[in-house]
């Protein structure tokens, strides 16, 4: 009995309904069923953090959940950060301004990790920032510019529309 099951969920404030195989990972569901390809898939065993999304407001690994488990839940992905293609979210703007990315593969997961982190810690120390980033692998930057971007993002978020 591995037939398709109906799943109804909300992503970035919009409702979706699909019929999927139970084995479909939430990360693949977002990318292939909903065409929300901003969520990236790296290791598929919970190590790299590229697929981090918000599940009922909390960051989780989308590759470590089945899509059917999201029934009735609310998700936020990187696409939900801003609805204006001309205007970046302050967190994105900080990454742009501080050159907090190179290839960008890890960036979506990092942003979705940081969004709740900066809400809870509006003035993080460098040590807290590095600890918060420890679950997200970046193979390009060496993290220096990412840490700088997070500090800048904290500034932007404390003083919106600077």
């Amino acid at each position: 009995m591995t037939e398709r099951q109906r799943v109804t969920l909300e992503v970035n404030g919009r409702s979706y309904e699909r019929e999927v195989e139970p084995r479909l990972l939430l990360s693949d569901f977002l990318r292939h069923e909903l065409d929300l390809t901003g969520t990236h898939v790296g290791c598929e065993h919970g190590v790299c953090g590229a697929c981090t999304v918000l599940f009922d407001g909390e960051p989780i690994r989308a590759c470590l959940m089945l899509a059917v488990q999201a029934e009735g839940h609310q998700l936020e992905t990187v696409e939900g950060l801003t609805d204006d293609p001309e205007k970046l979210h302050p967190l994105q703007q900080a990454f742009w301004d501080a050159h907090g990315l190179q290839c960008g593969f890890c960036t979506a997961g990092i942003l979705m990790t940081l969004l709740p982190f900066l809400k809870e810690n509006p003035e993080p120390t460098e040590e807290e920032i590095r600890l918060a980033l420890s679950g997200n692998l970046c193979r390009c930057t060496g993290y220096q510019h990412i840490v700088a971007a997070v500090k800048l993002a904290a500034d932007y978020l404390r003083e919106p529309a600077a």
Binding site: M1, T2, E3, Q5, E21, P22, R23, L25, D28, E44, H45, G46, G49, T52, F55, E58, P59, I60, R61, C63, L64, M65, L66, V68, Q69, E71, T113, L131, A132, S134, G135
Partner: protein, 295 residues
């Protein structure tokens, strides 16, 4: 890197989950937080016929005082919830100290206490904490329930006394005696990685400041949480001097643990790390129990 075909059941009560488990037996796998099981599914190291998801069951998550004055934790309580719960910080400081060292917040938001305990990875923190504190687990099946000591629960690598029709539903931690100090110390290459070595230490002091009870349990040091009982018993009756701590650490890590080599560390290096971590853990447990250094 994708799970094999599997069917999925999401019962909305424990009774329904137990009935489904009884029906499917060995072909079923319980899905708790999924932070260990889903990687195994993705790698196809596990290929169950049916997943029984406990997440929709609302009454399997709680943290409260137990009847005996200790702590009772529902198996489906998220690790992050336990980590930030004031009652845990007060009644089970060892658990409170160990939890932030379990993977990353993104994992702990989803991972459950019962899931990690039942998964029985010898590199995991929570089974070590449970064995160290003398926890008891309530296992339930469609035909009844039983309690088992954490010490007796762990059989071998990822193998426990949990029968195919049973679900771990509750964890009970006993109340610690007065003048008891705990410490959990591990070393990982990066914060949140599997620890290369780690140890939990608990000591209790009597009125004269002598050690009346001691426990030492290791992770990544064998097929199960490894209790160094002989080293711990050497400490009882003494004053936890630096020399006696050194001797116990030496005994535990040369005679009682059985680490295996991996790509990051040889057996000799792991024993060395375990010895150094044991000395640190015992020194801070002693200080927290109110011995000399205070705190």
């Amino acid at each position: 890197m994708k799970p094999a075909p599997v069917s999925y059941e999401a019962p909305d009560s424990l009774d329904a989950a137990l009935a489904a488990l009884q029906e499917h037996g060995f072909d079923a796998k319980i899905l708790a937080g999924g932070q260990s099981l889903v990687p195994l599914l993705n790698f196809r190291l596990a290929q169950p016929g049916v997943l029984i998801d406990l997440n929709p069951i609302s009454d399997l998550a709680w943290v409260r005082e137990s009847a005996a004055g200790g702590l009772s934790i529902g198996a489906m309580t998220r690790q992050r919830k336990v980590e930030t719960h004031p009652l845990v910080a007060e009644r089970a400081p060892l658990l409170h100290e160990a939890l932030p060292q379990v993977a990353h917040p993104q994992i702990r938001n989803r991972g459950t206490v019962g899931g990690s305990l039942a998964h029985a990875d010898p590199a995991a923190e929570l089974p070590v904490v449970a064995v160290t504190l003398g926890a008891r687990f309530r296992l339930q099946s469609a035909t009844g329930e039983r309690w088992i000591d954490a010490r007796d629960f762990y059989v071998s690598l990822m193998t426990t006394e949990l029968q195919p029709d049973e679900i771990l539903v509750e964890i009970e931690l006993p109340l610690l005696p007065p003048r008891t100090g705990c410490a959990f110390v591990e070393l990982a290459r990066r914060h949140g990685d599997y620890a290369t070595s780690g140890v939990a230490a608990v000591v209790t002091l009597d009125d004269a400041g002598q050690c009346s009870q001691a426990r030492l349990v290791y992770l990544s040091a064998g097929d199960t949480p490894m209790a160094a009982d002989r080293a711990a018993s050497q400490l009882v009756g003494g004053d936890l001097s630096a020399e006696s701590i050194r001797a116990a650490a030496e005994h535990a890590t040369t005679e009682e643990i059985e680490p295996t080599a991996d790509i990051h560390a040889s057996v000799a290096y792991k024993r060395h790390l375990a010895r150094v971590l044991t000395e640190r853990a015992l020194a801070s447990a002693k200080a927290r129990a109110g011995g000399s250094a205070g705190g």
